[in-house]
Symmetry: none
Subunit: 199 residues, 4 copies
DNA sequence: TATGAATGAGCGTTCATTCAT
DNA sequence: CATGAATGAACGCTCATTCAT
């Protein structure tokens, strides 16, 4: 007896609700601090039903790291490495990224945990690491293009790109509360300096 | 009959060994992932003996965060905010900090966890946060001095200082393995750009 | 999907079995001498399942004292304080109580422990104490009625009632084995003397 | 090297202090609730030193029950079973016993625990039981003598004696607080009725 | 598919006991 | 004899996972 369309949709929604709840709890309470019972209660489903959608706790954790990554990666990679004016493109990119990172506290806190304890979480880390490489390389190529056009100082592009991604995750980590939330705009210009723009 | 001098020394060594082991395990395996049993085995002492030196797991965790901080904070604050040449001082500071952060993977990974999950670990976070404020303000004053002497572009000093500390912790977080460890030197110049030096 | 009627019944039985087992073990082995493991084994259920029915060991202990009290208190209070012939009523009451106390070794041993260590067990003791007051006062009123009709010697009713309840719990405590179990009948007359009947 | 007289005396005092402390703690906190550490602290000696005087916790517990018994038993048995006037002797005995039991809350609370959980504490219970038999029999003979002289109603002496000792321990158990402490005097006459005096 | 009771391994912690000093 | 650090068994309790309904 195949499931009706409505059931299918319901299940999809339910799965997503579990996942959203799990991201939030894993981020704020950590892996062991988050119990299936807590997730079930917060997602307003029954305890045992969590296992209908995710094989076990580990798979749920992996999904919590990997699935939002797929959703956000397009936005992160949304800049043109072949732009006519690479410096203007870089500045726009910085603005976008800072805005994006400012708004994603929850998920990024989870990312920080996985990266910080990558030996414990090798599988989700691997996904993050691969994305990071891709991202860094794309930024590197944009930097290279700017240097070739004489608009940026000569520096090794990959380390600079690494510094940039490190800076972004670092700001997210450091701005633990809302005291400096209005500071995010002030971060743009100095961050941009990292790339060594020639005036 | 008080303890002999030798016993006293032995206990001090033992306590330190537990602490070092705990820092390492908490950093790589997280708070719940680290069990007292694992710590005892790695420190080569009996299970129950851990509790001779630390009241409970939480106190051991707090000590793991706070005690190394006291040891390292002097080195981190070792720069002169009233230097004649603030720009040269900043550059030297960047070099020192990068070297320091490159060498302290273990402890800093633990710091990342506490900061990333500060709601879970309010007490050790508070210590870190207070040190961070002190550090950031000292850097801010050095930046201000450079700006007053016309050697640095005009930017709000505190956000720049925040960016700088964020960058440092971010590099430490991102360089999870040794693949880029030879890159650390390449980080110096672009990081220094953050402060907006005028050539 | 709620539980079926059969399941519900099974759970009720299981809870009662745990409680009965707990009363027995707490009575014979004391609070700390009784472990959850022992209870689970004696009740033929798994260790963790005890916690499905009782939040923790303390709650199980409280339930072990309080729930049987509710069952037995009606029987204990089953005498008529307004009887036409208060002396005959007293004699009947004594017979009933002695019979009741003779048959309830297990639970009363537990009661003795709670009363004997009331500082350690304030919550269950409070329940017992309240019942004791009620019981003692009711006996006191029956004694008073007998005295007013000139059938009992003049004595303060409440101390006499206290002596009577003390005697009952004391017999239960002293008759630790079955050596004197056929003595219970012989206790009736002398116990009745306590009330000072006038012949 | 034999110990000096002073040392010997000191050790005797120390042993007694441990014992007194243990009686108090075992009585109020129970067997498992009492730790060697607590005893050592309360007795103001070092932890390990407790084991110099008592082989292990169990032996200390046994000594806590048995040694005070030896001290108190003479007082309890201090009545004349061959008295000229057995009824007057009984009345005096009742007065003494009630006074004695009123003043010995601590030790008697411990006795109640051992009797109530005699399966757990067979060795100290055996001592108490033997004393109890001796006591009860002596009272029985005094009762018998009173009956032979026609001063007491005919009743089986041993059950009456058992009732009497039960009553004493029962009062001690029931008077958990000081609310009725001034009642002790009021207990004498009705308790005495137990023996069936003929007026 | 949805539910939640049942299971037991594993945790942090306590504490009687041993033993080197 | 006095001390208290070292040991590890045993405790209460949690929770991921299973499974009957």
């Amino acid at each position: 007896m195949p499931l009706s369309e409505e059931q299918r949709l319901n299940m999809k929604k339910r799965r997503q609700k579990i996942l959203d709840t799990a991201v939030h709890l894993f981020a704020t309470e950590g892996y062991e601090g988050t119990t299936i019972k807590k997730i079930a209660e917060a997602a307003e489903i029954s305890f045992g039903n969590v296992f209908t959608y995710f094989k076990d706790k580990e798979q749920l954790f992996i999904a919590s790291v990997v699935e939002p990554l797929e959703a956000i990666s397009d936005q992160i990679l949304d800049f043109n490495e072949h732009a006519e004016d690479p410096v203007a493109e870089l500045l726009e990119m910085v603005k976008k990224h800072i805005k994006l990172f400012a708004g994603e506290q929850n998920y990024l806190t989870l990312v920080v945990q996985v990266v910080g304890q990558h030996q414990r979480f090798p599988e989700p880390f691997d996904h993050l690491d691969q994305f990071h490489d891709k991202w860094r390389n794309k930024i590197g190529r944009l930097i290279e293009s700017g240097q070739e056009k004489g608009l940026l100082q000569k520096q090794e592009p990959i380390p600079v790109a690494t510094l940039y991604t490190s800076l972004l995750i670092g700001i997210r980590l450091n701005n633990t509360d809302t005291r400096y939330s209005n500071m995010w705009d002030q971060y743009i210009t100095p961050t941009f300096q990292l790339f060594g723009p020639i005036h």
